[in-house]
Symmetry: C2
Subunit: 504 residues, 2 copies
Amino acid sequence: MFASAKIGRSLSKEAYKEGIEALRTELLEAQIALRERNIPVYLIIAGMEGAGKGQVVNALDEWLDARGVSVYAFWDESDEERERPRAWRFWRAMPRRGEISVFFGGWYLWPIEQRFAGAWDDAALDQSMSGVRELERMLIDDGAVIVKCWYHFAEDVQRQRLKALTRSDRSRWKMLPEKSHFSEQYQQFEEIADRVVRSTDIGRAPWHIIEATDPRYRDMTTGRILLNAIQKALAQPPHADRRLDDSPTNTDDELLPNSPETRITLLDSIDLSQTIERSEYRKRLDELQAELNDLAWRAYTHKISTVLVFEGVDAAGKGGAIRRVTQAVDARLREVIPVAAPTDEENAHHYLWRFWRNIPRAGRMTIFDRSWYGRVLVERVEGFTAPPNWARAYREINDFEEQLSGAGIIVQKFWLQISKDEQLARFEARENTPYKRYKITDEDRRNREKWDEYREAVNEMLARTSTPHAPWHLIAGNDKRFARIQVLETVTAALREALRNKAG
Amino acid sequence: MFASAKIGRSLSKEAYKEGIEALRTELLEAQIALRERNIPVYLIIAGMEGAGKGQVVNALDEWLDARGVSVYAFWDESDEERERPRAWRFWRAMPRRGEISVFFGGWYLWPIEQRFAGAWDDAALDQSMSGVRELERMLIDDGAVIVKCWYHFAEDVQRQRLKALTRSDRSRWKMLPEKSHFSEQYQQFEEIADRVVRSTDIGRAPWHIIEATDPRYRDMTTGRILLNAIQKALAQPPHADRRLDDSPTNTDDELLPNSPETRITLLDSIDLSQTIERSEYRKRLDELQAELNDLAWRAYTHKISTVLVFEGVDAAGKGGAIRRVTQAVDARLREVIPVAAPTDEENAHHYLWRFWRNIPRAGRMTIFDRSWYGRVLVERVEGFTAPPNWARAYREINDFEEQLSGAGIIVQKFWLQISKDEQLARFEARENTPYKRYKITDEDRRNREKWDEYREAVNEMLARTSTPHAPWHLIAGNDKRFARIQVLETVTAALREALRNKAG
C-alpha cells in the first residue's frame, strides 16, 4: 500500500510558488460553493508519527476561510466521553452542512493504537474497521464528502525526522513518551496501517497515500486532493437530503423495503382488550415504582445507562406512561427529551446528530418522547424525506442502537397502540377538558386521516428494527393503567437483568 | 425568614381538586404566551432536605407541556465541568427564550454546602452570593424571569420526614449518606439558608418561602407562584432584546456611557509608525514560536487554560497574527473560534451563551477571532441592539471575564489598529490578489464609512473593559510583522508569568 510513498517525491520552491496562488483561489471558490450547496466535508489527517500532520493543518488553515473550518484532535478522553459509546466524541465534532471538519487521526487513531499496543488482535481490528465503513457509508449517504489522507515515508526518513523533532520540539516528546516507540517499531506500525488502510479503502471514500518527505509536496498535494474531492462532489446533482425530492438521485444499492415479510402486521398481534382492575393497578404501581427507584440507584452505582424510546399513535398515552417512570426515578438520574421540530443547528447536521447529543452519561436514564424513528414514521408518511433516505434509515438506526448497546447501555423501545375508536374518544375527551385542549392540534386530526399509511409504516419499522439488544415492546394502550404497568414491568425487568449480568 | 414556613399550612383534598384544573389551564396558557413572547424562565427549587423537591418537579412535569421544560440537577461534576469556571454547568443549562429550565438547588446548593461543610466562612459565602446577584441581574436584564422557591418546615417535621424517607426510599439514603447530617444539624443549616436567602432576596427575583409540610399545599403554591411570575412578565411591554428598539423599555438604573473619561482616546496613543526589520522579524518569530510551543505544553501539564481575544478594524491583520500563534501551539492544545453571525440556537439564548459554549478545557487555549465585544462594537454602531443593552454589556463582560480569570484562566485581549490609509491600501491589494478577493466584502466598505463611529465605540470599550485580570493590548498593525511579534511577546509573557506563579 505504501510503496508509492517512499520514492522521494518533492516539489521545488519555484513550482510551489507558481502553483500555490491558483490552488488557494480555487480552494476558496470551492469552499464558497460548498457552503451554498450545504455539503459537509470530513478531512481525515492520519499517518506516520513525525510526518508533519500539524503543519498540513496549519497550511490549510491559511488557505481556507477559517469560518467554516473546525479542527479536532481526539486525544485524551474526558469522563463525559468515556461514559458514552466510543463514537460519541466524533458525533460531537460533526461538521455542519457546508462546513469542513478536520480530524487528526479521525476514527482511525484509536483502533491502530489498540492493535499496536497488543490490546487487540487482527480480528478485533477488522471488526472495528467494519464499523468504520458503516459510519462512513452513513455519512456519505447523508451527502457528506470524506477525504482521507495518509502521510507516510520510508523508515530512514522517519528516523531522521523524529530525531530532528526531538531537538526542536522537545516538550512535545517529553509529553508523549509512548509515541516514541512508533519509530523503533516502524515495521510493525506499517503492517497495522496497511491493514487498516486496505480494509477501509472504499470507492466512495478512498485513501490518499501522500509521501511526507518533502513539506511542499506534502502540503500542496493535500490541498489538491481536497480541492478535487470537493469539486467532484459539486459536479454531482444536488443530494436528496431532508426535503422531499421527487427524483431521488441517491445511487445507493439499498433495496426499497417491499419485501413480503413486512406484510405480516405485527400490530394485529396486540390484544387491545386487555385491562387491569383499579385496585390491582394501585398495588402493582406502588410495587413497581418502589422497585424501579431501587434499580435506578443500583444502575447508577454500577454505571449502567438506560435509553428508553416511546413512540405511539397520537393520544395513546405516552406522556402518562413516561410520567409513571419518572415519578419512580430520582430526578438527578434521568432526563426526558421531548422530540419536536429540529432547530437549525440540528437541521444542519445528520438527522441522528440531535439524538447523539442526548446520550446519557454513565448510570443515567434518558427517555425519548418520540425519537429517531420519526425518520421512518412521520418523515416517510408525510413525504418530508425522499424514499431512499427513510429506506436507508432502518440500517442506520440499527447500527446506532447497536453502538449504544455495545457501550453497555440498556435500550428499550415502546410502541403504544390504541384502537381508532379509542383515539376518537380520547380526542373528544381532551376537547372537553380545558387544560387538555392544548394537547390536541389540527395535526393530530390530519394524522388520523392517514391512519392506514402510518399503520403500514409502523409495521415495517417494528419488523426491521426489533433487535435482541434493542427490542420493541408492543403496548396495548386502550386501558391506560394496563399500559403503564406493562411499561414499568418491562423497564424493571430490563434493569434487573442488566444488574444480574453485571454481578454474575 | 422562615417563621412563615412553620405554621402548618395545608390544603384539603377538596380545595386542591377544586383549584387544580383552573391552575393547569392557566399554566398551559401562560406557557404558550411565554413561547410567543420569547421569555426564558428559570425556576429554582431549593430548600430543606426531605421537603419533596422531586415531587414538586413531578407535579410541574404533569401540569406543563413537556416540550419547553428542562429539568437540571447539578450534582456530581464531570471533569469537563470541573475544568471550567464553576458557573459553566449553569451556562450549559440555560433555557432557550420561551422555555423553562427547572434547576434543583440552582446556583445556591453548592455555596450552601461549602459553608455547611466549613470549607467557607460567612465572608466567602457573602462574596459568592454577590456573584449570584450579578448573574441573576444579567439574566433578568436579558428578559428572563427568575422564580426562586425555598421549601422549608419545622425541625420536628423534617425529622419525621427523613425517617419516613429512609424507610420508603432506602437506596437513596444509602447513596447520599452525607445528606443525613442535614437533619441532625437543622439549626446550623437553617442559619446558613437564612443568610443565603436574605442576601439574594432582590426585588426583581425575590425568594418565595413555601411551607413543605403538606404536599398539596406545597405543590399548588408552587404552581401559583410560577403562574403569577409568568403572568407578571407577560403584562410588561416587550423586552428590548437583540433587535433595535427605538424606545428602550428597560427600566434599569444603568448609566448611559457618556462619562468624560471615555473621551480620552486610547487609540490615539498607538504609534502606528513602529516597524521591525525583516531579518530581525524572522529571528524573533523563530525564538518566540519555539518558546510558545514549550510554554503551551507546560501550561497543559499545569492545567493552565488560556483565552485569547482578537478584535481590530477590518484588514488589520487579525488572521495573520492568529496564525503565528497557532503555528507554534500543538493543534491538540488549541482551538480557534471564528465568530460569525449567530445560529438560531445561539440567538435563542443570552448573547454570551455562544462564548460560554467554547470555554477551553484545562490546559488548553481558545482563540476567539472576534468575540463577545461585538456587542459593544458592531451591534452598537449598526444599531442591532438597543442602547441600554450594549451599555449594560460592559459590566456583563467584565463580570464574565472575571469568572474566567477567577477559574485560573489566562485572559488576554488584542486590539489591532491600522490607519485609515493603510486600510484602503490593503483593501485595494486584496482586490488584486485572486485568493484574497474573498476576504473583502461590501460590508467592509460600509464599515469603513463608519470609521469614526467605530473609533468612538472602540475607545469606550478599551476604557471600560481593560482590567488587570483581562487586559487589552493595543497593537500597532501598519507593519504586519511588528504586530505579530507584539502579539507573540504578549502571549508568551502572560504564559510565562502564569507558570511562574503556579510554581512559586
